[in-house]
Amino acid sequence: MSATPVRIFVPVDAAALSVGAEAVAQAVAREAIARGLSVEIVRNGSRGMLWLEPMVEVETAEGRIAYGPVAAKDVAALFEAGFTSGGAHALRLGKTEELDWMKRQQRLTFERVGIIDPLSIADYRAHGGFKGLEKALALTGGEIVEAVKASGLRGRGGAGFPTGIKWKTVHDAKAEQKYIVCNADEGDSGTFADRMLFEGDPYLVIEGMTIAAIAVGATRGYIYLRSEYPHAHRTLLRTILKAEAAGMIGASVMGSQHAFHLEVRLGAGAYICGEETSLLESLEGKRAIVRAKPPLPALQGLFGKPTVVNNVLSFAAVPWIMDHGAQAYADYGMGRSRGTLPIQLGGNVKRGGLIELAFGITLREIIEDMGGGTLSGRPIRAVQVGGPLGAYLTAEQLDVQMDYEALAAMRAMLGHGGIVVFDDSVDMAKQARFAFEFCAKESCGKCTPCRIGATRGVETMDRIIAGAEVPKNIAVLRDLSKLMTDASLCAMGGLTPMPVLSALNHFPEDFDRPPLPLAAE
């Protein structure tokens, strides 16, 4: 009995590391050695309760017991309190699975994140990994495509296009080479689900991409990862090597006649690469200038070949669908938004983190019940949903349900499921200015409305903020916004007016400024 080491989990997720998880892991190792205890330290992903990071878990006979947030200086006292057998301590939170935050969730995509050792293929398999791929290998490509269609899965990158229909187009295309591209350029502020998945359960994304490859007849795939995620990059490089060594991908996928060669490629700090056509240009080695559609990437994508381009979360949903059946997935959700959505709660919020739930929970439940309100303790004033191109909502609008159509009906968007909370110290005119400034910096420059409109937008906002001819300049702002919405080539220029106009329409008092006094003296 005593020979069996106690399993202690200390997250290796970048957010947990950002608040000291590495020092905690080292302290745990030091203390265990000093006390002659046999422990196995597992570096897991984060359970998503980021305000409790670093959260340490101990495996006991009754289940995993969580302690957090643990600082390195707490570790000696934890050992003293017998935490290796779940002992009482001020930082003891209880059984992880029974914490309110965990109990309420419906984790399908994130079912293993925080539970397994992300690099261990054995652990992945022991927790249901590969089952979706094994089932897919017994089907024809067309049957896989039909299953994905029947699940109702829509692209989780923001646009919400039905994944199965995209796959069908690539499946039906005739070409000697097809590609699978995973859009991991998670550049939206307030989103971190892709990163957490790569750091907490990377084989899942590889499995989903491999199923896509079998479905459409592709033999090569790329994960295009943003360079701001060095931790995820390191994990992915190791994971792909291990997946190849295990025969999961490579010349023969799990012993079948399917070949699938996968590479990870790093972006270079350009937000526009989250747009699928500019991502393809970047993968081809060019300036990431948006392409006009048509032709659809499904028909003429990477290097002109039929290409499936999906978000990380879209691929990651597929193994569960294949394993449990399309209907089981479709049974979650509301309206035309089927399945679950990994929701990311950030900004000025007391309990921020990742929540996976079926579509339909309200914003208020997420922010107030799960999030506990603002971190500053001041009233919520604005909430931005769906990234930098998403609308700002007021505290009165938070009863909207998380659903593609419900948000669109109020001129907002779900995007990639990111929620950013602001308290009453926010200046919404400055946020509107920032939206244009961001667009000006990150525009690819191909189309005039976006390239020049964004710069004109900054100038107009500067005049409004200075109180110069406010009504006239607001008219200019609305006109410019309409032009950018209607005439931009892609969502970057087309959606930048969404945060701007929502700020103007919902918070007009911040735009109604008296002329700035001339600088004193």
Partner: protein, 157 residues
């Protein structure tokens, strides 16, 4: 922390040759050069153009498009400070102001010294901001004093 060797055209050539077989090799090559030398010297342009059978304009165009690629030697340490919305909600602009006012560090201005602070938009740490990325490590809940301290790293006391 990172101390880069001076640009060396021969080792640059070897790096380029080693990656030229990749599909769409331009970005992997530029990353590899920058990892090695801390920047991509303009001398790399004809080298890459020749090996990949591209025009010099195409190679230069790629280098100049992406925020990551630098064409001049960089300070020993670059601190990437997130100034996207989630970090704004947690006061990153106050950090920028305080860095300038109290510590004399202007974000995004070229530094002659051995450290620089530059803006990035989102590091994926939106629940624990303000955030910074330093030598490949993410730091949460940062303030101006901590960043100023990180800028001092490696300097003569």
């Amino acid at each position: 922390m990172a101390a880069y060797p001076a640009w060396d055209q021969d080792s640059a050539r070897m790096i380029v040759a080693g990656l030229a077989h990749l599909e769409g090799a331009t970005l992997p090559i530029l990353h590899a050069l920058q990892d090695e030398f801390g920047y991509v010297d303009p001398q790399a342009v004809p080298l890459i153009a020749e090996v990949l059978n591209l025009s010099r304009a195409e190679v230069h165009g790629a280098i100049s498009f992406y925020h990551d690629f630098k064409t001049t030697p960089q300070p020993r340490r670059t601190i990437k400070l997130c100034r996207a919305e989630a970090c704004q909600a947690l006061g990153c602009e106050t950090v920028v102001d305080e860095l300038s006012r109290t510590h004399g560090i202007a974000v995004d201005s070229h530094h002659a010294g051995d450290a620089a602070v530059e803006t990035v938009y989102c590091l994926g740490n939106c629940a624990l901001g303000p955030s910074a990325l330093v030598d490949g490590e993410l730091i949460g809940r940062v303030d101006a004093a901590r960043i100023a301290g990180l800028c001092q790293h490696g300097r003569a006391q």
